[in-house]
């Protein structure tokens, strides 16, 4: 119910628009209700003799009513659907704004595709479909309120007789729709099975082909596919009953009117014109009544979508600005980890266990270890993308969770392991952290990151578009732009998470040399699987299974003949081999 209330707060913003729309809806129904009356006047007039000018006037009245009705329906549609779209826009804005506040962990647990489905499908079902149902139902109800008295005016017995089958139809539709839902679910399930099977076979295509099982797989797929087909055929036989059945109900209603109304007309209790008028009225309300039933029944599906959207909007961001932020203006850059442990949600294996170290401003720390040893987790804890489960991360002696988020993050230049660039120009991507940066600054950053010559080679230079519709860059080029982006804001802390993995060692050497110059006065954390990257760090931490198993300078670690030395030798050997 909370979720419906949330929807209502959006609806409230457009109450004027909606109110005008509903007024138009009522007006449209009223102008529609005039037409049968005019028909009655005409037909009865014709039956008893009528002057031609009057006939002309009545015809003109029908046209006038039709035009009025068209105008009102147009205005109503424009206002109500317009409000619907505006509500959807507002909700999407809030949805996106809310997602921006959620921590990294959320995006690791929820796949982008799933979130997209909620933002597009579920949201439009939650807004358009639910409001659509409400407004259609409202339209039916208004039509009934307007037309029912007019019918009763002609004959209440005839009205009762005509409505009995319609009421039955509405109820029958609701019950039927309810029953169909279980079928719908069954079909969804067997469709999911088809998808799962197909996906498996497509992923294991080499195995299937090597063991020459193509035929068997096609047959196996066909088997569950046939199951799906037979469910569908059976659903088909059932579901298609509803429309003809409704037609029969509506027909019954007309039969009743034809029989009883005919008798009433014959006995002069009803004029021929009134008889016709009644039939036209019945035509107006018969189908909407049946639709009312199916719409009321589908509301439950809407509720599911509303809940799915709401479950995200009501998430409290786990990482928020401190309640009482520290009153500090600038960050010097010392970093300290005190016994930090981080265990991802849903697992009991810490990716970082009891890690402690200290870096002075201006120092460089190297992190080395295999894939999954905890280097990225360690980095992510500094800008508070993740929150430690125990222990504390301190910058300049202050716990990071007490530093205003904005200040904290603006003090950190971060190059994540997975390079991500936006589909925008190269210049805009480099200036991402500082949109006001001058062209000279952008170019300087690009040159430092070793991207200068590459960009100069593009026909559009810094204005080259990146991404799906633009230039395709190599992994190394993307990484270097990502580095340029991180160094442009001149923040006191620089985090490079395996940021040179796609760059060859010759280029890497040159970039490192330039960075070394830039690094002066900056605190720097560099992680890498390649030891050559870290050789001249002030401190190297060797991580294994989330623990620091050794620390020291390059020479100290080599002298200890541990895992570090082993990795170093292996890499030397490998380089040597690759060169031969």
């Amino acid at each position: 119910m909370v979720s419906i209330r949330r929807l209502l707060t959006y609806v409230a913003r457009y109450k004027a628009m909606l109110a005008w729309g509903i007024l138009c809806l009522i007006a449209a129904n009223l102008s529609k209700a005039v037409v049968p009356w005019i028909l009655e006047q005409t037909v009865d007039g014709l039956a008893h003799g009528i002057a031609y000018p009057l006939l002309l006037r009545l015809s003109v009245m029908i046209i006038a009513a039709a035009l009025l009705q068209a105008g009102f329906v147009f205005a109503e549609e424009r206002l109500l659907t317009g409000a619907e779209m505006a509500i959807e826009r507002d909700m999407k804005n809030d949805f996106y704004a809310h997602l921006q506040k959620l921590p990294l962990g959320f995006f690791r647990e929820n796949r982008t595709g799933e979130l997209m489905a909620r933002a597009s499908n579920d949201m439009s079902i939650a807004v358009s479909t639910s409001l659509g149902i409400c407004l259609n139902s409202l339209n039916t109800v208004v039509a009934l309120i307007v037309i029912l008295p007019l019918m009763v005016r002609l004959s209440w017995r005839l009205t009762a007789l005509a409505f009995a089958p319609l009421l039955l139809a509405t109820i029958a539709t609701m019950v039927f729709q309810e029953r169909m839902r279980s079928w719908f679910e069954k079909i969804q399930e067997s469709f999911a099975e088809i998808c799962a099977r197909a996906q498996e076979v497509l992923e294991g295509v080499r195995t299937v082909r090597t063991y020459t099982q193509e035929r068997a797989e096609i047959e196996a797929f066909g088997q569950i596919h046939r199951q799906y087909l037979s469910h569908n055929l059976r659903r088909n036989r059932l579901a298609n009953m509803i429309y003809p059945a409704m037609q029969l109900f509506v027909g019954l209603s007309f039969v009743a009117v034809l029989w009883y109304g005919g008798n009433l007309t014959a006995s002069r209790n009803l004029s021929l014109g009134q008889f016709l008028e009644f039939m036209v009225y019945l035509g107006y309300v018969a189908w909407p009544m049946h639709e009312l039933g199916s719409e009321l029944a589908s509301f439950q599906q809407v509720a599911v979508s509303i809940d799915r959207v709401d479950s995200i909007l009501s998430l409290q961001p786990a990482i928020r600005d401190p309640v009482t932020p520290l009153a500090i203006q600038a960050i010097q850059g010392s970093i300290e980890f005190r016994n930090v442990t981080y265990t991802p949600k849903g697992t009991n294996r810490p990716t970082l266990a009891a890690v402690s170290f200290h870096v002075n401003p201006g120092q460089t720390v190297g992190l080395v270890g295999e894939v999954g040893s905890g280097k990225s987790t360690l980095m992510d804890l500094i800008p508070r993308f993740l929150e430690p489960c125990s222990g504390a991360v301190l910058i300049d002696g202050y716990p990071v969770r007490e530093i205003p988020l904005q200040l904290l993050r603006s003090a950190i230049g971060y190059v994540p392991q997975e390079t991500f660039l936006f589909s925008d120009t190269i210049a805009a991507n480099i200036a991402f952290g500082n949109p006001e940066a001058a062209q000279a600054e952008i170019e300087q950053a690009a040159i430092t990151a070793g991207m200068g010559p590459d960009i100069a080679a593009f026909p559009n230079g810094y204005q080259t578009m990146i991404g799906e519709r633009g230039a395709t860059l190599s992994g190394g080029q993307k990484q270097r732009i990502s580095i340029a982006r991180a160094i442009l804001p001149r923040s006191p802390i620089l985090l490079l998470d395996d940021a040179l993995s796609s760059v060859d060692s010759y280029t890497e050497e040159k970039i490192l040399a330039r960075l070394r110059h830039l690094r002066q006065g900056k605190t720097c954390l560099i992680s890498s699987q390649r030891i050559s990257t870290l050789r001249d760090a002030d401190l190297i931490l060797v991580l294994h299974d989330g623990r620091i198993i050794a620390r020291g300078t390059h020479h100290e670690l080599l002298a200890r003949r541990g895992m570090y030395a082993e990795m170093y030798e292996t890499q030397l050997l490998e380089e040597n081999l690759a060169a031969s």
């Binding site: 005409t42 039956a47 009528i50 015809s59 029908i62 046209i63 009513a65 039709a66 009705q69 068209a70 329906v73 147009f74 549609e77 424009r78 659907t81 317009g82 779209m85 996106y96 995006f107 997209m116 597009s120 998808c195 996906q199 076979v201 497509l202 992923e203 082909r209 090597t210 063991y211 099982q213 035929r215 068997a216 797989e217 066909g222 087909l229 429309y243 003809p244 059945a245 037609q247 007309f254 039969v255 034809l258 029989w259 005919g262 008798n263 008889f275 016709l276 800008p383 993308f385 991500f420 936006f422 991402f432 952290g433 294994h544 003949r561 541990g562 895992m563 082993e566 490998e574 081999l577």
Partner: protein, 626 residues
């Protein structure tokens, strides 16, 4: 051009009428096996059409015969026929009897119409769903035949959309669309026919209304199309923005760009709303205008027909019938209009599906394949050159032979070309130069399915399918008995583990083998290779570390599986490399050294260095952790 993502807009531009017609013709072929169903549905829907407008006609009869009989004009046409029928059944006497007769007739029409409607919809939809089934089955089968390169360049998620979204996009036109299209036209024509029968001058006037409606609908499409396309473009732009920003959220947060990005999102979202409003302005026009045209038509009929009634040219019943018939025009026109976008998107889906089905199948079998029942297992590479992309040679002039029953190991750095050799041997890719021979026959002369049925493959990452353990060992091959599956599992020491499970060999394997350890999955792979009992084993050893107990089980499994077979091993394990007959050292796409372990070590060349790199020393690590 399979791998173009958002080409819907571009496609729509290119869809000219001729092209549309070709697509439709090709789609109709899928309905051909069900032609009798389609014809039956069509016939039923044409029977159904006149019954749908029985109401106005019966009302006219009721008026002319019983309510307001005009003595100056004796009943004619179907009204006369109805009167005679009423007299025949003895219900023509009084007015109230007459109403019973008319009402009963109307009820009968209704029942028959509901029944025919039900039948034609069910028949048509069943045919459509069977056609869809065949199409999806064809796509799936085709995917089993397209070259492996197709899978290299198309992510599985994208391939899945062919089987799911695109096929579903066709469901509507296959099941109800076609029939509905024709039956709407039938209804409209039938209305016109009835009108002409009753009174041609009023009929012509109503036809003018009909023409105005269809003319407006056609014109409307031309004005609505650009705005609705622009709306779709804005929707996909916004989805693109959202997808990109959700993926790059870490970057946004780390550069404090939340406020700015929200502003940009709002901008995109507002543009979408504006485009939506522009589209709405058009679409909101359609129904009221069509309804207004219908009402104007009625007013004209009333005015013109009324004056004819006054002059006694037509009966009042005729006028009433015309008014009701003119109203019936509205439904088929509106329904046709609402089906148009569905047809459009179906054509886009079919375009995508056909472009997949038109992908050539992997390797066209040779004209006269060499007869090769079961190979013995002698393999020869003769000056083989191969590149995945032009001129980027992965293998350069590689030649070697593996004699019958020989065990050969390939050693080299990652990317040296070891896996490529096995891929070429199974003919997943075609070589550019040189020859590959199996038992002296060029593999291009052998039917690929026959060729592959000589190999058992154990890859690093064993693919497990949902199903029980037995079905994962024998895959789809029912000729492998459960007993043979058990024997194979026993041979690789997997039996003990399997029988410890609740349902033994019939225990379900969870999605992607969750619940089994890496080592156990490997053992299933070996059991599979043993159960299939093929003359040549191709083994890509797993590099990942496994506990020592499983390690020894795997070592044993490798030995067992290699017995009596020709074996090609991409070796990562010391035990394997020491027990093979020959080691080939691959480096940068070339065979650099060849020999057995001892001789190669003695050379102190590449192998000696690789050996130290891949199999050499790990003694220090444990000490360090402690």
């Amino acid at each position: 051009m399979i791998d173009e993502d958002n080409n819907e807009e571009g496609l729509e531009e290119g869809l000219d009428k001729v092209y549309d017609r070709r697509l439709i013709a090709r789609l109709l072929k899928y309905l051909f096996p069900y032609k009798w169903s389609v014809i039956a549905a069509l016939v039923l829907s044409i029977i159904d059409a006149p019954l749908a407008i029985a109401g106005p006609l019966l009302t006219k009869a009721a008026i002319d015969l019983f309510l307001l009989p005009d003595p100056s004009r004796p009943p004619a046409g179907y009204v006369l026929w109805l009167k005679q029928s009423a007299d025949l059944v003895g219900l023509g006497g009084s007015k109230s009897q007459g109403f019973i007769f008319i009402a009963a007739l109307f009820l009968l029409c209704n029942v028959v119409q509901s029944a025919t409607q039900y039948l034609h919809v069910v028949i048509a939809e069943s045919a459509g769903q069977k056609a869809i089934y065949n199409l999806r089955q064809e796509i799936f089968s085709h995917l089993q035949k397209v070259p492996i390169q197709f899978y290299d360049r198309t992510p599985v998620g994208r391939i899945m959309t062919y089987i799911t979204n695109d096929v579903d996009g066709l469901a509507e036109i296959f099941s109800s669309g076609l029939i509905a299209f024709l039956s709407n036209i039938a209804v409209a024509l039938y209305i016109v026919g009835c009108m002409l029968r009753i009174d041609w001058s009023l009929a012509l006037m109503s036809c003018a209304t009909l023409l105005a409606m269809t003319g407006f609908a056609a014109w409307f499409r031309t004005i609505a199309r650009p705005v609705s396309r622009s709306f779709r473009e804005h929707v996909s732009a916004m989805n693109g923005f959202l997808k990109e920003h959700l993926t790059g959220m870490q970057v946004i947060q780390s550069f404090n760009r939340e406020a700015e990005e929200l502003r940009r999102f709002k901008h995109v979202n507002d543009a979408r709303l504006r485009a939506g409003m522009a589209a709405l302005l058009r679409s909101a026009l359609f129904h009221p205008t069509i309804a207004a045209i219908a009402s104007i038509g009625i007013a004209l009929v009333l005015c013109f027909g009324g004056s004819q009634v006054m002059r006694g040219i037509i009966s009042l019943g005729t006028l009433v019938a015309f008014i009701q018939l003119a109203q019936s025009f509205y439904d088929p026109i509106a329904d046709l209009h609402s089906r148009y976008p569905v047809l459009q998107s179906a054509l886009i889906s079919s375009e995508r599906i056909f472009s997949l089905l038109d992908q050539p199948v992997a390797i066209t079998p040779t004209e006269n394949p060499a007869p090769l029942a079961t190979a013995h297992g002698r393999i020869e590479f003769r000056n083989v050159w191969f590149a995945y992309h032009a001129d980027d040679w992965i293998l350069k002039d590689v030649s070697f032979t593996v004699e019958l029953g020989q065990k050969v190991a390939f050693v080299g750095l990652t990317g040296a070309g070891k896996t490529t050799i096995t891929n070429l041997l199974l003919r997943f890719y075609e070589i550019q130069r040189g020859r590959i021979l199996l038992d002296g026959v060029d593999i291009r002369q052998i039917d690929p399915v026959q060729l592959r049925s000589n190999f058992a493959l154990v890859l690093q990452d064993i693919v497990l399918f949902s199903g029980d353990i037995t079905s994962n060992v024998r895959l789809g091959d029912q000729s492998i008995s459960e007993e043979r599956v058990r024997t194979a599992a026993r041979a690789v020491h997997l039996d003990e583990f399997i029988t410890s499970l609740d349902r033994g060999y019939h225990s379900e394997v969870l999605e992607r083998g969750a619940g089994l350890s890496v080592g156990q999955k490997q053992l299933v792979g070996f059991a599979r290779a043993l159960a299939f009992d093929r003359p040549i084993l191709v083994l890509d050893e797993a590099t990942s570390s496994i506990d020592s107990r499983t390690e020894s089980q795997i070592r044993n499994a490798i030995q067992k599986t290699m017995v009596g077979r020709t074996a090609l091993v991409i070796a990562h394990r010391l035990s394997t490399i020491q027990s093979v007959d020959k080691i080939l050292v691959i480096h940068k796409g070339e065979i650099r050294e060849c020999g057995n372990h001892q001789s190669l070590i003695a050379q102190q060349g590449l192998y000696w260095r690789l050996y130290r790199l891949q199999f050499g020393g790990k003694p220090v690590r444990d000490a360090e952790i402690a």
